[in-house]
Structures are given as structure tokens and as C-alpha cells.
């Protein structure tokens, strides 16, 4: 089906990579599409798919908002986790959905990311987390802030067991997700052009009282500043992840064939 590119306005037909053939713009992928792109066919088994959020600070309207998003997206919350294989290697994978309340991290996202990291730690299986998030989910108040500490401590446990964590930053990744597990990968990859930062551009402009320079907080900027290992085209993502999995095995001299 043809659709209009949000970047160049051309009517385009997209394949499963969802890259605009006209201008190269990356359309967002939902978790299912991302997993199909990086995982071996039919290998994905979801974990904790039915977990849903409570309303921890009893905020008026939050439960309705969740219900509305569940209906709209056919997802239960803003992250999907599970197991799959990549070129035959077992991994634990987590993919965030920006389409679900801006990919915000509340108790469910925090818990599922934590479970993905702890499963990886327990089994010594590499963990791959693909981020897309506006940050902490304000509707859960202090509980959402604490998910940052929770996911970061789970990343610490993974590190203690010597199991690698690979992060794929996609557009956009900001706020409390950037300031927790998203910046804790042994290798941090980013998709071209993705906005990656802590404070949102409008907040910064408000603080400094001037416009931000072109390209600020883009993936290319973050690589230049030293916070991203490599910018990887979506078409190369599976191959790149497979290379990283094979070169991060402990106790073996890495001979990658």
C-alpha cells in the first residue's frame, strides 16, 4: 500500500525495512516488525506479553488512557520482550513501541526490561534492547522515576555475570530511558538520524533562550561526541548484531567464521 513519507512528502511503497525509497527517511517500526527484521524466522517466543499496568498514584484518566492505547496499538504496553535466535544464536530481545504512549517507561516497561536483563544474566544469553521512548511515564509519578534505577541495577547484574548488552537506539530516545539502560550497553548502536538525548530540544531551547544548532542530538552528533559506537543502517542491523554476538563470547578466543 502506498503512503506519504512524513519527511519528503512523496507517495512511497515501503518494504519490510520501512525506509523511504525517495529520501531515505526511517519510518518507525513496531515491535513485531523490528523482531521480524532481526530475529530468525519463526524463532521469537514472547515473555510476559499479558502484563498490564496498574494506576500506582491513582491518577484520574490514566486507566482510560491505557485502554485507549491498548486498543489503538494492539499492544499491552510500550515494550515487547522475548527470546529469539539471530543467525542461530540465542538472544533475549526487548523492543520498545513509541506508538504506545510515546514509548514512556512506567512500571510495566521497567519490569519487562528488567526481566529481559535478568533472564539474560541468569542464562548467560546476550540481551538486545531496541529503544524508542520519550522518557519516564509521568502518569505513574515517582514509580516511573524508580524504573530508571531498577533497569540500571538489572544492567549491573548482567554485567556482573559477564553477559553482553547491546543497545539499538531508534528515533527518538530521550529522558529517563537515555538516563538509564539505554546508555549502559557494552555496544550502543543507533539508527541514522535518530534523536538521542536527555532533555528534549524544546526544554533546552527554553533553558538557553536560543535555537539549537542543526543536527543537535541526532545519532550522528552522538557518535561524534562519543556516546554511540556505530550508526547502523536498518538493512545491516541483523548482520551487525550477529557479528557482535559472535565477538562477545567470554572464555573463547574469538574466531568468527
Amino acid at each position: 500500500m502506498a503512503e506519504l513519507c512524513t519527511a519528503c512528502g512523496h507517495e512511497v511503497r515501503l518494504d519490510h525495512f520501512k525506509i523511504c525509497p525517495s529520501c531515505g527517511h526511517y519510518f518507525p517500526l513496531n515491535p513485531g516488525e523490528r523482531i521480524a527484521l532481526i530475529g530468525d524466522e519463526g524463532s521469537f517466543v514472547e515473555m510476559e506479553g499479558t502484563m498490564v499496568s496498574a494506576n500506582p498514584i491513582s491518577l484520574a484518566g490514566y486507566e482510560e488512557k491505557l485502554e485507549e492505547n491498548r486498543k489503538k496499538s494492539a499492544l499491552n504496553d510500550a515494550v515487547t520482550i522475548g527470546r529469539c535466535t539471530i543467525e542461530g544464536d540465542a538472544v533475549i530481545v526487548g523492543v520498545m513501541a513509541f506508538s504506545f504512549m510515546g514509548g514512556s517507561m512506567g512500571s510495566v516497561v521497567g519490569e519487562k526490561i528488567t526481566q529481559a536483563l535478568l533472564e539474560g544474566a541468569l542464562e548467560g544469553v546476550p540481551v538486545i534492547l531496541c529503544t524508542a521512548s520519550g522518557g519516564a511515564r509521568m502518569q505513574e509519578g515517582i514509580f516511573s522515576l524508580m524504573q530508571m534505577a531498577k533497569t540500571a541495577s538489572a544492567a549491573a547484574l548482567l554485567e556482573e555475570t559477564g553477559t553482553p548488552l547491546f543497545i539499538v537506539l531508534t528515533n527518538p530516545t530521550t529522558g529517563g530511558v537515555t538516563a538509564s539502560f539505554a546508555m549502559l550497553g557494552d555496544v550502543i548502536l543507533a539508527e541514522p538520524g535518530a534523536i538521542i538525548g536527555f532533555a528534549g530540544p524544546r526544554v533546552i531551547e527554553g533553558t538557553i533562550g536560543q535555537q539549537l544548532p542543526e543536527g543537535f542530538q541526532r545519532a550522528e552528533f552522538q557518535q561524534e561526541k562519543g556516546f554511540v559506537d556505530a550508526i547502523v543502517n536498518r538493512t545491516d542491523l541483523k548482520r551487525t548484531l550477529s557479528f557482535l554476538i559472535r565477538t562477545h563470547r567470554r572464555g573463547e578466543v574469538s574466531h568468527v567464521g
Binding site: T50, V52, I57, M146, S153, G197, F227
Partner: protein
């Protein structure tokens, strides 16, 4: 019985005072210029204190104070957000908003504390991390993330006191510890009430309404079990004396525990925060054994 009457009346007065103060009023109290800050408490609590500067990577952040203090012969590493007592100082200390080098200094001093078996006491009082170009360029998100990871597994006791504003990730960046306390007029939240109002209520002038809805007072956070207890406020000296008594009491207990136990307890506590449907899993607990290698502190 008669002796207890004045205390009882005072307690009732306090309870009335608590219920009368709105969330928004507490937000304003937590921000009041001249409210005792980290440096005031450090000076009142310690017999001596030496400030240590710099992150060894980029510079020294004046909005984050760190150093070593002595309380009755016990060496303690203190880390805190620093605000000014007046407008001129506030400019110098960037209103308590740290750049990445502040968090990296905190991490350097925390690791130093761990290496030399010193417990750590953190004082939180910040509207949030600084959101500017340089702060982003030097990786404020990465700096906070590293602190969350490192503090959750640091093999030394960590006590955290939220003494004023506990603003978002910038507060949490020095806020992971074994025991958390809040002064009674301190607040702690994921975003400022102004931010919450403009994003969720679509009206920045509804900050007072937001402050209620966000449940960000010490009493709410105690109810949520996010903090361990509330510290009553009096004069700066009285409040400092209460903080000092808590530090001495808690460290007497925590310093006698094997560091691995501390870390396991800390991670379990962090792991438990959050409300979701139907999970109470314990399958991951064997993982905590990775921290049981070393002996005890002190």
C-alpha cells in the same frame, strides 16, 4: 502521663499542620531561598570536612559538592547538590543543577569511598540535571545512567536524604542507596509540577493542581514505601541534629553487615518498586549470589 501531654499536643498540632499544607505549598517550601542546603547540613553535622573537587575528566561542577567528613571519628563521604543561599550564590551554583561532570565527580568520590571502606551520605536538593547544550554534548544521560548502575552495586553503605527539591533523574543520579529519608517539607518527583501541568494538563498555570495529583510529598513517598522515613524539620541546627542521629544509628547497623548483603538488599528493594499485574517472581534471586564473594566492612 501528665509529662506526655505537651508532646502529645505538639504531635496533634503537627498532624494538623501536615494536613493543612497542600502539595503545592510544600513544593514552594522546598524551593524557598535560604532553606538549609547540603553545605549547611554538612558543616553542622561533621566535626571536620574536606571538600574534594573535580571529575578527573572535564572539570569541577560547583553545583555538586563532595568530600570527606568526620563524625565522632567515623570517616564518611558526603555528596550533595549545592544551591546558593542568595541570588548571587544561586547563579554561581547554577541553581543546584548539575552538568555531567557533577555526576561523574559524585561517582569518582563514591568509588573512592568504596575502596577505602567509607560509608556514603547523599543530600538531594535539585530541580533537576541541567538541560543545556554542553550538558547534552558531554552526555548527561550517560552520566546519570552510570551512577544508577554503579550506586546500585557499590559495596559500601549509602544513606540518602532528600532535603529540598528532588527533581527527576537529576536527583536520582545521587539517589540510589540503602536507606532513603525525606525532610518533611521536601518533595520528590519524576518531573516538576510545572512540567507535568504543561504536558499532561496542557496548561502551565495548573502547577498547583499538578502538585496534588503527582503525590510528591514526603508523606506520599513514605506511603508508597519509596522512602524509609520522614525527618521532622525545625531550625537548621535541630534538623541537622536529627539527620546526624539517623546517620549514626543507621551506620552502626549497616557498617557491621557484609557488603554483599547490603548490595543484595539494595537491589531487591529497587527491584520491588512498581505496580504491574500478576507477578511476584523469585526466579531471578539466585543471581544475587554474584555479590557474595567478599568479606565484611570495617
Amino acid at each position: 502521663m501528665l509529662d506526655e501531654t505537651p508532646r502529645f499536643t505538639a504531635a496533634v498540632d503537627r498532624m494538623v499542620a501536615h494536613t493543612q499544607l497542600s502539595g503545592w505549598e510544600r513544593v514552594q517550601m522546598s524551593r524557598r531561598l535560604g532553606r538549609p542546603g547540603a553545605m549547611t547540613f554538612i558543616k553542622l553535622i561533621c566535626d571536620s570536612f574536606m571538600e574534594l573537587h573535580g571529575d578527573r575528566l572535564f572539570g569541577d561542577d560547583p553545583a555538586m559538592v563532595g568530600g570527606i567528613g568526620l563524625i565522632d571519628g567515623q570517616a564518611i563521604t558526603f555528596i550533595g547538590n549545592r544551591k546558593g543561599a542568595n541570588l548571587k550564590e544561586n547563579v554561581r551554583y547554577n541553581y543546584g543543577m548539575s552538568n555531567p561532570e557533577g555526576y561523574r565527580k559524585a561517582l569518582r568520590l563514591a568509588r573512592q569511598a568504596e575502596r577505602f571502606s567509607r560509608p556514603i551520605v547523599c543530600f538531594i536538593d535539585t530541580p533537576g540535571a541541567y538541560s543545556g547544550i554542553g550538558s547534552e554534548e558531554r552526555g548527561i544521560g550517560e552520566a546519570i545512567a552510570q551512577n544508577l548502575k554503579a550506586f546500585s552495586t557499590l559495596k559500601t553503605p549509602i544513606l540518602v536524604f532528600i532535603i529540598g527539591e528532588g527533581g527527576s533523574g537529576g536527583a536520582l543520579g545521587i539517589g540510589v542507596g540503602d536507606k532513603l529519608y525525606m525532610l518533611e517539607h521536601a518533595v520528590y518527583s519524576v518531573i516538576t509540577p510545572e512540567g507535568f501541568a504543561s504536558i499532561l494538563l496542557r496548561d502551565p498555570s495548573k502547577a498547583a493542581e499538578a502538585a496534588e495529583a503527582m503525590k510528591m510529598t514526603a508523606h506520599h513517598l513514605k506511603e508508597f514505601s519509596v522512602i524509609h522515613d520522614i525527618v521532622e524539620e525545625g531550625s537548621a541546627e535541630e534538623t541537622a541534629a536529627r539527620i546526624k542521629a539517623i546517620i549514626k544509628r543507621d551506620l552502626a547497623v549497616l557498617c557491621s553487615k557484609p557488603p554483599a548483603h547490603l548490595v543484595r538488599y539494595r537491589i531487591r528493594k529497587i527491584r520491588g518498586i512498581g505496580e504491574v499485574s500478576g507477578i511476584a517472581k523469585t526466579w531471578w534471586k539466585p543471581l544475587l549470589e554474584v555479590f557474595s564473594k567478599s568479606g565484611s566492612l570495617s
